[in-house]
């Protein structure tokens, strides 16, 4: 990978903005689904699909591709939106999300849509699968493999004991081609993670299981890109990036409220925006963010 220019960073920010718009539109059309985590992870997905991963939307099964395993399948809207914008399928198909006959199942179904590496939704099983994939790769290619396995997990999901079984095995096998990303947004359905089932000290937990830990802002494009570069340079240990994210990032009126975890625009909490205005307000606020990025690009072009 090459270092990114400021312009390329700004382009990634625009892409993340497009993806957030698609998330809002597809969730509003579906009338159900998970908003907070989907919006919150848009930057991580953008960096992976548009700057980091070796993949080809025209050849979704190409053998040497990197693998992205989404463990918390309920944030499928961000996965689908990113894949559509990357060219895996038409963007307009996003409006079929969660509908009968759609390839975009409420939670991802591997055999329904080319480019999906697994089916997920029941929490806690993605990391085990990513560990299995990495072990299989190392059996064949040995430690010189340049293929990476990116497993994206929710923080609330870490309540599931199966994760810790997988974390133990990855540490035992020193799987340095395995890069997990924990969406540390501190919310889960019933409230804040530290009230429901405290995870802290999370960094120390991973360290204790022999993982390499990177902890950072999950919305800083340059930082994320650098974090993935750093992760790829680590030997002899699996890597976890604890990405601190803001629930519903990008839509100011939804941000940081755990009640947006499982609600779509039109059915969310009404303290800040009435239900019938939620989609409209979200799109307006995203447009404002877009304006700021475009302004930044203008200034870059002047320099």
């Amino acid at each position: 990978m090459i270092s990114l220019t400021d312009r390329k960073i700004a382009d990634l920010e625009l892409k993340a903005n497009d993806i957030r718009v698609s998330i809002i539109e597809s969730l509003a059309a579906a009338g159900s689904g998970h908003t907070a985590g989907s919006l919150g992870m848009a930057d991580v997905f953008t960096v992976l699909y548009f700057a980091v991963m070796n993949h080809d939307p025209k050849k979704p099964n190409k053998e040497d591709r990197d693998r992205l395993i989404l463990s918390n399948g309920h944030i499928a809207p961000v996965l689908y939106s990113t894949m559509a914008h990357a060219g895996y399928f038409p963007v307009k198909e996003l409006l079929t999300l969660r509908k009968f006959g759609s390839r975009l199942q409420g939670h991802p179904h591997r055999t329904s849509l080319p480019g999906l590496e697994t089916s997920s939704g029941p929490l806690g099983s993605g990391l085990s699968q990513a560990v299995g994939m990495t072990i299989a790769e190392e059996m064949d290619a040995g430690e010189i493999s340049n293929k990476f396995f990116y497993c994206l997990l929710g923080d609330g999901e870490l309540n599931e004991g199966q994760n810790w079984e997988a974390i133990m095995l990855a540490g035992k096998k020193r799987l340095h081609n395995l890069i997990a990303v924990v969406d540390r947004n501190n919310i889960q359905i019933d409230g804040n993670t530290e009230d429901i089932m405290p995870l802290e000290p999370l960094r120390e937990k991973f360290l204790a299981f022999n993982w390499h830990v990177i902890e950072m802002d999950g919305h800083n494009m340059r930082g994320l890109y650098q974090a993935f570069l750093d992760a790829q340079s680590v030997a002899e240990k699996p890597i976890v990036i604890i990405a601190h994210t803001i629930p519903s990032k990008g839509v100011l009126s939804f941000q940081r409220d755990y009640r947006w975890h499982g609600a779509p625009p039109g059915k969310g909490p009404e303290d800040r925006v009435k239900k019938d205005k939620q989609k409209e307000v979200a799109l307006k606020e995203l447009k404002e963010v877009r304006g700021e990025i475009e302004e930044k690009i203008k200034n870059l072009n002047k320099e």
């Binding site: 591997r110 697994t118 939704g121 085990s128 079984e165 095995l169």
Partner: protein, 327 residues
């Protein structure tokens, strides 16, 4: 009389008969399959010798993954390996796999439709002294209900060896049910075994009763058939080693010709072979069916002999129930 096509051992009813546990047949089959196909890999949750996976692990250490006591993760790790083109066989006691990790098997293996094989040893009351916690009596029920799954219950160690090799060649999820206890080796290398086929092993014209069975209890069912025949009753026994997909053609064909139907299995009466046969016959050939098995109860500690007797599925129990039923 014994069906010649079964190619059983010469004197199946001899006093001394060689015995071997079905889990041992699995170990041999896995090794054989592994020699043929380098993509076959094995995983085990700290029961490598108990499940006979050690034969493979010793020969192919590089292709064996010791996951520790993590049955839930093991199922999904196997799913991930299958996604990369491996053919993983993962083993534990049936109570824990597919017992404890049922949802992982359903979602990450069957719904994902990947090529992973679930090996559940120590099924049934034949586990003996360990008691009810370790006696899986529900595993056929919980596996056969999952779409994309194939379910096999081999009748002896040689059948388990063949089932393992066939499972390795079959593309898709397979559950193989094995037992801890040594049981009579009644089949030979020539005995046919195909996934999805049922085999009439004791045949007669126009039977008074047809008994469907699976697993190593088949030996006692054959002994019952012999006794009943000597008492001038006409009996057919059909071995149904594949519970899913069920060989409906063979089952209906034999049920049609028979006055009465019995099923015998070392499993809960509900959800297992008896239920599977009842489902098919209730639609295509409705008949009264006597289902023998464990009757909605847990096992307990004891010798296998004591436990089979207690649940009425030893030789005497099966004979008495069938005689009463066809009187």
């Amino acid at each position: 009389m014994l069906n010649k096509d079964s190619h059983f051992i010469k004197d199946i009813f001899a006093k001394e008969i060689k015995e071997e546990a079905t889990r041992v047949g699995y170990g041999k089959g896995l090794l054989e399959a592994g020699e043929k196909n380098k993509n076959i890999v094995a995983l085990c949750a700290d029961l490598t010798e108990s499940t006979s996976t050690h034969l493979f692990a010793k020969k192919f250490p590089h292709r064996f993954v010791q996951v520790g006591i993590t049955e839930q993760s093991m199922a999904s790790v196997a799913s991930g390996m299958a996604a990369m083109g491996k053919v993983p066989f993962f083993s534990s006691y049936a109570m824990f796999s597919p017992g404890r990790n049922w949802e992982q098997i359903r979602t990450t293996i069957c719904y994902n439709d990947v090529n992973a094989k679930i090996i559940g040893s120590h099924s049934g009351v034949s586990v003996g002294p360990d008691g009810a916690t370790h006696q899986a009596l529900e595993d056929i029920a919980i596996t056969r209900v999952i779409p994309n799954m194939t379910v096999i219950v081999p009748s002896d160690s040689e059948a388990a060896r063949k089932a393992t090799i066939k499972a390795a060649e079959h593309n898709g999820p397979v559950y193989i049910r094995l037992a801890r206890e040594k049981t009579p080796l009644i089949t030979t290398e020539k005995t046919p075994f195909e996934i999805g086929k049922a085999y009439p092993v004791w045949v007669t014209e126009k039977p008074d009763v047809t008994i469907f069975s699976c697993g190593d209890i088949l030996f006692n069912v054959l002994r019952v058939a012999k006794t009943l025949t000597e008492k001038n009753k006409k009996v057919t026994v059909v071995n149904v080693p594949t519970i899913k997909p069920l060989d409906t053609k063979t089952i209906i064909e034999h049920a049609k010709n028979s006055q009465k139907i019995v099923t015998v299995e070392e499993h809960q009466r509900s959800g297992g072979l008896g239920s599977a046969i009842s489902e098919v016959l209730s639609e295509s050939c409705p008949k009264q069916i006597l289902r023998l098995g464990v009757d909605d109860s847990f096992g307990e500690s004891g010798t296998p002999t004591e436990l089979f007797k207690h649940h009425g599925i030893d030789y005497d129990g099966i004979l008495a129930s069938v005689e009463k039923y066809i009187k």
